[in-house]
Subunit: 363 residues, 2 copies
């Protein structure tokens, strides 16, 4: 069981920053930048056609776009430029997003209901955090040393636990976007956490299906899916004592990988220490195999599906979903009419072929 | 009311092709290519986590990619190369897709049910058609002459009517993808029709919401949304006697435009002739304004939302949804973690600003 220390500090504009260290050390560096008012949270608007909430964050247009290393806001502060991280080195750092889509609401805020055909605008309560995987500007999650990946995992677990306590948060979403093809604007290895004041459409859908299954069979759906994948074999990429990685039977993307704990848990915080410690090894293997398919760094979205904070915690199981839109070297899968407008996915590659390709990569 | 004649012909491999003409003329050109077996329809697989159907069409990888004019399969056949269209000219042509994701099933086919954790593969019954807007290789839907757009509209209406008769089709989706940014592989102006053997996730969602609204208020939701937009004014782009174009209050994309008939109808086939005839003018204005925002041809997905064939026809209203992922010159909106994995959209531009920008374009 790794020793992980957390140091809580405050940034120049009042945002919180957390240093996660696997060895005890001081974290006293001060963020000396001049105070600046933090932007208001975004707006929440209800799409009446679907009864889904849309966040409108019009201040986000000004974000930095792929800055070079010397201007990277996620590097440690080692020279005259004060970055987001005041210390001169770090292992893993988490801090509140400077221009968050979801942020702490005004006192008295409560989540709105669908009030019919009204033009109402609400505060986008919640929380957005940046998880910096390393103080090295180059690299990626899959290329971190295993010990470093374990520190990231402990940071994810701690943040899930802490953010779940906020009474205006219904769901904690831990994820990583990698590659310019999915809109990444900072190359420094990092992920994000979005904490929403509602249950997102995808999670609401999965929750309804999982709850029905649980009520009917008395077992979590994900547990039975994992049993099927182990039984069918053809879509399994790799497994260890605690985790299994497979291409789902009905994948939506040319490379879509699910990595799930064999023992059902609702979220990262609920993982046993043994399961948490066994994650880096399988995560590294999966990500290296993914990069090995075409011999290039694959753009992907890596999403931790967790049960909502207050509901469905017996039914909806934690799993890590990696989706890549690359279907061949030089060819991306675009979400066109059927996928984008209708939510009906057409896959160009059979999941069994994708799993075979993943297994065939020489590591 | 325009005269539109339809000539039904057969292609070299048995596929149907329809010529739509606004003046009566012969269509006797024969597709003389050597017979070739048509590919089997794709597979349907159930995603157990969401209870949604995924089509697996692994034969689609081989599609032509942006062929030059002299190799374009959607141009008329004027030289030695036999294209998909045998005649030497045409107005509007519709034909069955050569490598369809959904196609006529074997006799006895019926749509499968969710049968629990089974690894079952089903035939992707349905129909995929290509709608060629013009015999000119260059151009776009918005730049067609109004009379030509009217012929396209009549073709869409006729195909919706005809395909709705197929007993294995539950939903007819008429759409256009424009631009390489949304994966278009043929530049020749064209759209597509996908007819699904199930109700797509997005339509199912809209149908549930619209049905609840109808049951509660006795009016279609879309009718009341249009009233709100007319009342609020700020998001309206333009209107005429029969149609209104607006940016929806909770748009998901930097430029998302809804064009809806003022009088509720479930689908294109149900439009009055007057409403159908009034569409080209507003469609052209909207598309020219969209291209005018940045002075470039905007990539977009233009999707006709129609009620399913057999249900919800009092509740779910026809509307044309145009979404563009361009948020600035040189900047695209990517579907990253929140949108792609959670279905929770973050918008960078306020809908009122987008509507203002559309209205401000000088035509």
């Amino acid at each position: 069981m790794p020793f992980i220390a957390r140091h809580d500090c405050v940034m120049f504009d009042g945002r919180e920053i957390f240093y996660y260290d696997s060895v005890e050390r001081e974290r006293t560096a001060v963020d000396g930048r001049e105070f600046e008012e933090r932007p208001k949270p975004a707006e929440l608007r209800l799409d009446l056609l679907t009864n889904e909430w849309i966040a409108v964050a019009s201040h986000r247009q000004k974000r930095a776009f792929l800055p070079p290393k010397e201007l990277c806001p996620l590097c440690p502060t080692t020279g005259p430029l004060a970055t987001e991280i005041a210390d001169k080195d770090f292992e893993v750092v988490v801090f509140e997003n400077r221009s968050p889509s979801f942020a702490q609401p005004d006192p008295g805020w409560h989540m709105a209901e669908n009030s019919g055909v009204e033009t109402e605008i609400h505060q986008a309560a919640g929380r957005c955090e940046v998880v910096v995987f390393s103080d090295q500007h180059e690299g990626s999650f899959g290329n971190l040393p295993l010990a470093q990946m374990r520190t990231v995992m402990e940071a994810w677990r701690d943040r899930t636990r802490e953010i779940s306590k906020l009474d205006y948060v219904e769901q904690v979403f831990v994820f990583e976007n990698r590659g310019e093809e999915v809109g990444v604007t900072l190359n420094h290895p990092h992920g994000q956490i979005y904490a929403y004041p509602f249950i997102t459409p995808r999670t609401a859908r999965m929750l309804r299906v999982a709850q029905e299954y649980f009520d009917k069979h008395g077992r979590p759906l994900l547990t039975d899916i994992i049993d099927r994948e182990i039984n069918d074999e053809v879509r399994v990429i790799t497994q260890n004592e605690h985790w299994i990685a497979y291409i789902p039977f009905a994948a939506r993307y040319p490379y879509e990988i699910h990595v799930a704990p064999k023992k059902f848990v609702p979220d990262l915080a609920a993982l046993s220490q043994e399961a948490a410690d066994a994650f880096p090894e399988i995560a590294k293997e999966v990500l290296l195999r993914l990069d090995g398919i075409f011999g290039i760094a694959m753009a992907y979205i890596a999403a931790w599906h967790q049960a909502p904070v207050r509901t469905g915690r017996d039914a909806l199981g934690l799993h890590w979903q990696i989706t890549s839109i690359r279907r061949a070297p030089g060819k991306l899968k675009y979400l066109a009419g059927s996928e984008s407008a209708m939510g009906a996915f057409i896959m160009d590659l059979a999941p069994e072929q994708a799993a075979q390709a993943m297994r065939d990569v020489n590591l």
